[in-house]
């Protein structure tokens, strides 16, 4: 069970935070382009799902799987988007993403008077707490690969 990367976007599409733990393949484009492509893809998937849905949806798109990885998505009512790519063995981690939002993002970024909303997060405290939280999760590998 592995976590590969985590992206945090705000409602305007700015990538506020990106981190990787076990990423093996770079997408072959600059980080800025990758963030724009990721945000664009997520925005398109949300719109696609809303239009093609045969029944009413409560939460909308939650995750997708390919042959190698799983992309998990969680959006808050304020438009903050948390995207975590993991391997295929993880189950539903919507709760984990929600915890990242409420216990780490809100505590260490929103409540930090020095952190400007809408700007990429530079707070080291946030980075440490987030890293600690992720490494403590059961889905993160405990052995050093």
């Amino acid at each position: 069970m592995t976590v590969y990367t985590l992206y945090i976007f705000d409602r305007n599409g700015t990538c506020l935070y990106y981190t990787e733990w076990n990423r093996k393949k770079q997408p072959g484009m600059s980080k800025d382009e990758e963030f724009k492509l990721m945000y664009g893809m997520i925005h398109s998937i949300k719109s696609f799902v809303h239009r093609i849905a045969p029944t009413d949806l409560r939460d909308g798109f939650s995750n997708f799987r390919t042959s190698r990885y799983k992309l998990n998505f969680y959006e808050t009512p304020s438009g903050m988007k948390f995207i975590m790519t993991t391997d295929l063995t993880v189950g539903n981690i919507r709760d984990i993403l929600h915890q990242i939002y409420s216990n780490i993002f809100v505590e260490y970024v929103v409540r930090n008077p020095q952190c400007e909303l809408g700007q990429p997060i530079t707070s080291e405290l946030f980075q440490t707490k987030l890293d600690e939280f992720i490494r403590g999760l059961s889905i993160f590998p405990t052995r050093i690969s």
């Binding site: 849905a53 949806l57 042959s67 190698r68």
Partner: protein, 218 residues
């Protein structure tokens, strides 16, 4: 009903076949007094609820009828008056409005198929692991979208209930039926829309068999 619909997309991203197995779309009819709290917006020639969900009328529902008269796009069917004008003038109230999710038009389906074709490719491009395929399963809380891409680039897509099992086998069976009744049909050209009766009948049988089987398993 486990399986909602199936789509087949050719290697260029064009929709070549579509079948709705179960499409009961919700409809809500309600009487309103002025002013209505729903915000209606024009989207693709339809009037769609953009804000102000209430009483079972959700965002995304289309205006389907005013006082029992069906609405086509923005105008009433019988005399062509603008529905927005009727809704905005207080002397027409109390007014009976019908909202619902309309069936997708063929154009919309073609557009959504090409959209998925691109998203499938981007899913593979953004992979953190090498040699990833495109999107195979896309999950939401209301439905699951399964996609099987063949070696020749054709995608078989099924929209199902989230609890439905055996969809991988269904997609492969669909490929078999496609090979037998469409590809082997001398009047069918590859990458063109599929118009073969035998394909339609056999596909329906395969879908029904898959649904029955999963009901037995659950």
């Amino acid at each position: 009903m486990g399986i909602f619909s199936v789509f087949i997309i050719n290697k260029a991203g064009g929709l070549i076949f579509q079948y709705d197995h179960y499409s009961q779309r919700p409809e809500v009819e309600k009487t309103f007094s002025f002013p209505i709290e729903l915000v209606l917006k024009q989207q693709d020639e339809k009037l769609v609820v953009a804000f102000g969900e209430r009483d079972g009328i959700k965002v995304g529902y289309t205006l389907m009828g005013v006082n029992g008269i069906p609405v086509e796009g923005r105008f009433l069917q019988n005399d062509g008056t603008d529905a927005m004008e009727i809704i905005n003038s207080p002397h027409n109230y109390p007014i009976n409005l019908k909202f619902g999710r309309t069936k997708l038009t063929t154009n919309e389906k073609i557009m959504l198929a090409s959209m998925f074709h691109s998203l499938f490719a981007i899913g593979s491009q953004l992979s953190p692991e090498p040699h990833s395929s495109g999107i195979e399963v896309l999950e939401t809380d209301g439905f699951k979208l399964h996609c099987y891409q063949t070696m020749t680039g054709i995608k078989f897509i099924a929209l199902t209930d989230p609890r439905q099992g055996g969809v991988d086998a269904l997609l492969r069976k669909m490929y078999e039926v496609f090979s037998d009744f469409a590809l082997k049909n001398p009047f069918y050209s590859v990458d063109m829309p599929v118009r073969c009766d035998l394909f339609d009948t056999n596909l329906q049988q395969v879908i029904e068999a898959c649904e029955k089987q999963s009901i037995g398993n659950v």
